[in-house]
Each structure stands twice: as structure tokens, then as C-alpha cells.
């Protein structure tokens, strides 16, 4: 009863709070965790929008799109944050999204002029190993070595799909042969990134498919310099994470304001040491020390259209080669 009275008092005392418009952002779980970018971004945006920013989570990046399709027109999300670039074609086909209208320049290693899907962070895929492990300089060298790696399944995880497309981009028609040679280097395949990384840390493999910035987490957050990312001469696949506003949002102005806010220093500045990915705009003060320990690689990027066209065949090649 006392609680009710207090709540009532709070509401009556602050009518503005009760009437503030609400912007609902659908994103993945780890984005809003207390150690993720969510809390700082919420505080910074609410300081400028006179609104209430509400995060709704729905599993990982791939699950977000499934959830929006399930909710269809009934969704209360105004913005979705965290789709993988390889899902853009499928996302566009749903017709659920509207142009964002943001024109500020991006600092991505590839050209990006999509009017609907706006990148908010990106990273190179890479194999991550303990320092001191012999480091192969290419997929071919890895396949010829005795090194053991753990991967994620391209049928269930976005980095897993990213790797298959990375190999396809690097080897084209020779991809099946490369996978066949890699088969004896692969300890196992897990459904998601976190299981893979956990097994790697437990010593089950020499390296794990992850991101070029993974060693930065261990160095900056844990003070442990004992991890490296392998730089491959073929170039590295790219993950670009994008946001988009829903066409049926009941807060189009706020949603557009949030899309523009994504490229602001207040948003981009927290990305490197909370999401452990690269910001999509140039940072005035540069990146944190030790953020990128691997020498800058070449970028192998399949445009969303090409990725969508190649995907099923590339995954089939992967499955066939590893099922022998």
C-alpha cells in the first residue's frame, strides 16, 4: 500500500514524465546488459530527446528479424538495432522498414550507401588464439598445419555464416576443396559463438572463430595480453551490424532522431569497449590503446545481394565437405 502511494505521488509530482513519448528499440540481449552499450546510450539519448527510450530484447541478431516477422504489424518496436549485414536482403523483402534519412559520412572499410539499413558497428572476423601458438598466415596454411580450431554452425549463427561467406569470397570455386582440407583441423562446430569461445578458453582448441578485436577485450578489460588474432593474407571477412526504423512506427520523428543519434560520438564512443566492435565513424580521440593488435588486413566483403545469392550453395558446400 505504501508502495502504491509512493508511486502515485511520483506520477502526480512529475506529469511530464508520465506523458513523455516512448521510443521502443528492439535489440539483442547482450546490447542492453549492464556491461553492454545499452545503459550509456539510453542515458545519452534521453538527455537530448525528452523521451523515454525502452529497449526490448529478442535473442541474438538472427532472431531479431524472425521476431519482427512473427509480430508483423503488431510490433511495438520503432527501431531494430543489431541485424547482421548478411540478413539485409531477407529483411528488406519483409517490407517492414523505412528509409532512415541519415546522410552523415561513414568510416567503414567498404562503401555503404544503403538508405534503409544504417551500420552502427563493424568488425573483421578472425581466428583468435593464445599468444605463442604458431600463427598460420592463411586458410591454406591452417589447412596444412596440425592446428585445431572450433567454428560456429552457419545454419544457426551469424559468425558461422560469416566464415562460410568469407571462405567463399576468398576461394570461390575452390572453397569445397579448402573445406575438405580444413576438416581435420576442426575439433567441433557449436550452434553459437559463446559456446565456441567457452570451449576455446577451456583449452579444447588452439583457436576459435571470433573477431579481430577479441584480444582487445582480454587486454583492456582483463589486463591479459595473452591473446592474438591470426592475420590471413587472403583478407578478412566483415561483419557489419545495422539498425533500421520500422515503417509502421508511431514515433517516426523520434525514430529518425534516434537513427541520426547512432552516428553521434555519444553512441559511437561507447561501442569499442562495450560491444568490442569498431565504431562506424572516425573517433576524434582515436581508438583505445591496444584495441587492434593485429596488423590491418585486407577486407573481403560480399555485398548483401551477392551474399544472399551465394549463401545456400556455400553452406551446402561446407556441410558436404565436413560430413565426409
Amino acid at each position: 500500500m505504501r508502495y502504491l502511494l509512493c508511486s502515485a505521488g511520483l506520477l502526480l509530482g512529475h506529469p511530464a514524465l508520465a506523458e513523455a513519448p516512448q521510443l521502443t528499440v528492439l535489440t539483442y540481449d547482450s546490447f542492453v546488459a549492464e556491461w553492454g552499450p545499452g545503459p550509456a546510450i539510453k542515458a545519452a539519448f534521453e538527455a537530448q530527446c525528452a523521451c523515454d527510450l525502452r529497449f526490448v530484447t529478442g535473442g541474438d541478431g538472427a532472431a531479431l528479424l524472425a521476431r519482427l516477422q512473427m509480430e508483423g504489424a503488431n510490433t511495438d518496436a520503432d527501431v531494430v538495432l543489431g541485424l547482421d549485414s548478411n540478413l539485409i536482403v531477407a529483411a528488406r523483402d519483409t517490407g517492414l522498414f523505412a528509409p532512415h534519412g541519415v546522410t552523415a559520412p561513414l568510416a567503414l572499410p567498404v562503401n555503404w550507401d544503403d538508405q534503409v539499413f544504417l551500420p552502427f558497428d563493424w568488425g573483421w572476423f578472425a581466428f583468435v588464439a593464445r599468444a605463442g601458438t604458431p600463427a598460420p598466415s592463411s586458410f591454406r596454411a591452417l589447412a596444412d598445419s596440425d592446428l585445431k580450431v572450433i567454428l560456429q554452425d552457419p545454419r544457426a549463427s551469424t559468425p558461422g555464416l560469416g566464415l562460410v561467406l568469407w571462405v567463399k569470397a576468398a576461394y570461390g570455386d575452390a572453397a569445397p576443396a579448402l573445406w575438405a582440407d580444413l576438416a581435420d583441423n576442426i575439433v567441433t562446430v557449436t550452434p553459437g559463438w559463446s559456446q565456441s569461445y567457452g570451449l576455446f578458453l577451456a583449452g579444447e582448441a588452439d583457436a576459435v572463430l571470433s573477431y579481430a578485436t577479441s584480444p582487445a577485450y582480454h587486454l583492456i578489460a582483463e589486463g591479459d595480453p595473452g591473446f592474438v588474432a591470426w592475420r590471413f593474407d587472403e583478407g578478412h571477412g566483415l561483419q557489419v551490424e545495422v539498425a533500421a526504423m520500422l515503417a509502421r512506427t508511431d514515433q517516426p520523428e523520434l525514430a529518425r532522431q534516434f537513427m541520426a543519434f547512432i552516428l553521434s560520438p555519444a553512441f559511437q564512443g561507447v561501442i569499442p569497449t562495450t560491444n568490442w566492435m569498431f565504431p562506424v565513424v572516425a573517433m576524434p580521440d582515436g581508438l583505445p590503446d591496444g584495441f587492434m593488435t593485429m596488423a590491418t588486413p585486407d577486407t573481403l566483403f560480399l555485398s548483401p545481394q551477392v551474399a544472399a545469392a551465394l549463401r545456400d550453395a556455400a553452406v551446402d558446400e561446407w556441410r558436404t565437405a565436413l560430413s565426409q
Partner: protein
């Protein structure tokens, strides 16, 4: 057989379970193209690994349960409860514990390497079977142990007096009654295995149907395809459940005076029994010890969010327990093929399909996120129902067989019969069923991810979040907290039931 007992609640429960399992599948509108070669390969692998896992659990579970049934030693009931731990572990935690023992960097291979012997890889079909035996052996053992305890001691005495062999006379009829159901449980659990099969199987060779379900729901969003695969799984389940029902025979030992089994009932073979018990203890508890070891290292890193998450997990588990035990009891009182089938269906239902279908059903009317915890409790109760039923049904049937005719003669029917006769006599099974349901619900991760917002995270979800953000040590700490709470809850409920029983 059970006419004077309550039957109508069982009919209602069966209808509710069928609606709960089939409704969400149909909500996804099954359809789509023909099954591909890859789908058939996945179906073959799914069936063969599930059959092998069930077989291995039977081969190991029977001798283990027999050894435990006929030996008395200090700490026996504690050991029996501890052996159940792997079944109660969240799968993700269990896999890590198992790999700490059998993995490439595990104790076994380090020992072999130190002795100059070649490394034994765990990844492959044998790894999948080992993992499934690790997870499910205790379930089979507990069910059979209850079977041994249900043979009245008077029958053992009679057999001993007559110099008759108790194997064919007492044990085989009991196994005929209990073993098929127990193995069916394991088979069906393994039928929907996904992360364990893929990870221990070492790659896409070990693709199960459930992976295809996951892919079509979460990645490709082709719910019709997922629903079609879910129907395939349900069909396999129904066939297996009916087959088991056909080979199961009631043992019909009659009543006894509830005396405990004296060790003279099983002379000789003391060393063999001890060997079996020690080997099983090592296999089931060494990974657990390694989990505790790793968890303690992360105990200091447990985030504040863990407190709220623990409370939510407990609330969900207790609600799911109340629902599942009530439904299982209603079905057990009814008995028969219908109850058996209804109670087995949820096992073959993919939790993911169930959750997604419910989401699709609810989304037009209410925000599923706002109902995250009640929905999770409901789905968890459905998924745990088969286990609760499998424990309660034999106890109810045995009570009816032994005391039903007298109770009927005395005019003891309906609710009074339930309260005065049935409930007190099935108390050990009731406690075990409640403990099991609560523990399974505590560790569940399948459903909550679909609904929950960040402010409704349960412990497994929090643990997954930490693992997904590099915080592996903190995740181990939360894992330890989860294991501790899960096991504590199980212990309290199981103890309540087994106040002074031998199992």
C-alpha cells in the same frame, strides 16, 4: 482398474496437454516443400543416436540400479541423490563439465598424454552417446530403483525361503514394467537433442532434426517448415510411445507391509556391486566436481543482476512444478494408453516450436514480453510433465493394485480416496517428481530467450548473456549459483517425499 479413483481430471489434463503441444505447432501452419536429402540424413542420425543413447543407458542403468537396490551402506541415500545431479544440470554447464574430464584438454587425455599414450578424442557419435548417458543415466537408475523398492520385501523372503531365483521371478517382471518407459524417456529426450549432439558430435555429420527446426525458426524464418519438422518429431514420438505401451506389462506383485529390503536378499557378488557403484559415481560426479571447481573461481565476479535473476528462476520453477505435478497426477490417476500418450507427447515437442507457436498465438492479443515469466512456467511445466508422470504413474498403479479393492469395499472413492489412500502412499514419487520438475525448470534456456526482456532474465539467461560478452569466469560463477539453487530445490523436495523411504 481404477474406476473408483478420480478419472475426469485426467481427461481434462490430457486435453490441455494435447492443446498445449499441438496448438502452437498448428499455429505455425505446417507446410513447405519436400524433405531434402540433408533432412533425411539428419533424421537418420537423430534416430540412431537416440536409440544408441537409450540402449547404453539401459545397459548401464540396470546393473547400477540393481547394485544400489540390494546394497546398504552409509550415505547411500545421499549418493543416490547426488548421482541425479547431471540430469538436473543446465545442458551448457553439463557439457563443460564433461569436457573438463573427457575433452582434448581434459583430465583423462592429460593423464594419457603424461603416460605417453595417444589422446582419445571425445568428438564423434561415441561422444554424443557418452554425453547423453552422462545426462540421463541417473534418470533411468532412479526409475528402476523405485521399481525395486516397489517389490514387497515379503516376495523376496518367500523367494529366499523357497530357494527360488529372484531374477526371473521378481526382477524381470519389474523390469518389463518399468524399463521400456524409462528407455522411451531417454530416447525421446535425445530425439530433440541439438546443442549437445552438434557440439560433441564434432560437426555437421551430427546434425539433428532439431537443428533444422532451429535454423528454420531463428535464422531463415520459415515457420511452416519448422512446424512440418515438428510434426515429424511428434509422429516419431507417438509411434515410440505406443510401441512401449504395447511391450509394457504390469508386474502385479500385490501388496506388502513396507518393510525395507534386508541385504540378505542378495547374497554374493558384493565386489561386483561395489565396482559398479564406484565406477558410476566417478563417471557422474567427477565432471560435477570440475564444474564446482571452475565455478568457485568465478564466484567473486557474479553480477548484482544475479539476485533478481535467481528470484525469477525460483518463482518460475515453483509455478512450473505445481502445474506439472498436478497434471501428471491427474493423468496417472486416469491411467491407460491415452494418459500415456498425452504424457509422452511433450517430450517430442521441440521447446523452440512450442515457444514460437505460443508467441504467434499470443502476439495479436498481448505483449509476449510482458507475459515472459508465466509463459516460461507454462512451457516448462509441459516439458517436465513426462518425467513427473513416469514417476507417479507406477506408484499410483501399485497403490491401486495393492489397496484399491479394499478401499473400494470400504466405499473410499473420489477425493477422499486420493487424500487418504493415494497421496500418502505415493509421497516418495511425488517428492521426486516435484524435485525433478523444479530442477528442470530452473535450468531451462530454450523458451525464456524467445520472450524475455533484459529485465526478466532468469539465471540461465544471465549466464548465457555473460558468456556472450566474453565474461566466462563470471558465467561460471553464475553457473555455480544456478547449480547450487537447482540442486538445493531438488534436494528439499526429494527429501520431503522420501522422509523414511529407501529410495
Amino acid at each position: 482398474m481404477t474406476a473408483p479413483a478420480l478419472r475426469w481430471p485426467g481427461a481434462i489434463a490430457a486435453a490441455l496437454v494435447a492443446a498445449m503441444v499441438l496448438g502452437p505447432v498448428l499455429a505455425l501452419r505446417p507446410g513447405g516443400g519436400a524433405l531434402t536429402a540433408a533432412d533425411w540424413a539428419a533424421a537418420r542420425f537423430t534416430l540412431s543416436q537416440a536409440a544408441l543413447s537409450a540402449l547404453a543407458c539401459g545397459l548401464l542403468g540396470v546393473p547400477l540400479a540393481r547394485a544400489l537396490a540390494r546394497r546398504q551402506f552409509p550415505g547411500r541415500s545421499t549418493l543416490i541423490r547426488l548421482l541425479g545431479a547431471p540430469f538436473l544440470l543446465p545442458v551448457i554447464v553439463a557439457v563443460h563439465g564433461l569436457l573438463a574430464l573427457f575433452g582434448r584438454a581434459g583430465w583423462l587425455n592429460q593423464g594419457l598424454a603424461a603416460a605417453g599414450l595417444p589422446v582419445v578424442p571425445i568428438y564423434g557419435l561415441h561422444g554424443v552417446v557418452i554425453a547423453h548417458v552422462f545426462l540421463n543415466l541417473a534418470l533411468v537408475t532412479r526409475i528402476l530403483l523405485q521399481g525395486w523398492a516397489a517389490i514387497p520385501v515379503e516376495r523376496f523372503r518367500l523367494a529366499a525361503t523357497l530357494g527360488a531365483s529372484i531374477g526371473p521371478l521378481l526382477e524381470r517382471p519389474m523390469l518389463r514394467e518399468r524399463l521400456p518407459g524409462a528407455l522411451l524417456l531417454v530416447f525421446l529426450i535425445c530425439l530433440t537433442s541439438f546443442a549437445v549432439a552438434l557440439t560433441l558430435g564434432g560437426g555437421p555429420r551430427a546434425t539433428t532434426v532439431e537443428l533444422a527446426v532451429y535454423q528454420s525458426l531463428r535464422f531463415d524464418f520459415q515457420p511452416a517448415q519448422a512446424a512440418r519438422l515438428a510434426l515429424l518429431q511428434l509422429g516419431l514420438c507417438a509411434l515410440a510411445a505406443l510401441a512401449v505401451w504395447r511391450v509394457t506389462l504390469p508386474a502385479g506383485f500385490g501388496g506388502g507391509l513396507d518393510r525395507s529390503l534386508p541385504t540378505w536378499a542378495a547374497p554374493g557378488r558384493r565386489a561386483a556391486d561395489a565396482g559398479i557403484i564406484v565406477a558410476a559415481t566417478l563417471f557422474l560426479l567427477a565432471p560435477l566436481a570440475l564444474i564446482l571447481l571452475h565455478g568457485l573461481a568465478g564466484a567473486g565476479d557474479i553480477p548484482h543482476a544475479a539476485l533478481g535473476a535467481a528470484m525469477r528462476s525460483l518463482a518460475v520453477a515453483l509455478a512450473a512444478t505445481a502445474l506439472a505435478v498436478a497434471a501428471a497426477l491427474a493423468l496417472a490417476l486416469r491411467g491407460g494408453a491415452l494418459a500415456d500418450l498425452a504424457a509422452s507427447l511433450p517430450l517430442a515437442a521441440s521447446a523452440l516450436v512450442l515457444g514460437t507457436g505460443l508467441f504467434a498465438l499470443i502476439a495479436p492479443f498481448a505483449s509476449p514480453a510482458a507475459l515472459a515469466l508465466p509463459l516460461t512456467a507454462l512451457v516448462n511445466a509441459t516439458m517436465a510433465l513426462p518425467f513427473a508422470f513416469r514417476l507417479l504413474a507406477p506408484a499410483v498403479a501399485a497403490t491401486e493394485a495393492a489397496h484399491g479393492p479394499l478401499a473400494t469395499t470400504l466405499g473410499l472413492t473420489g477425493w477422499a480416496r486420493l487424500r487418504i489412500l493415494t497421496l500418502p502412499r505415493i509421497r516418495p514419487a511425488l517428492g521426486l517428481a516435484a524435485g525433478l520438475t523444479a530442477a528442470l525448470s530452473m535450468g531451462d534456456l530454450g523458451i525464456i530467450t524467445l520472450f524475455a526482456g533484459a529485465d526478466a532474465a532468469t539465471l540461465p539467461l544471465l549466464m548465457q548473456g555473460l558468456m556472450g560478452a566474453y565474461r566466462t569466469t563470471a558465467a561460471s560463477g553464475v553457473g555455480l549459483l544456478l547449480v547450487g539453487l537447482t540442486f538445493g530445490l531438488f534436494w528439499v523436495l526429494d527429501r520431503w517425499g522420501a522422509r523414511d523411504a529407501a529410495t
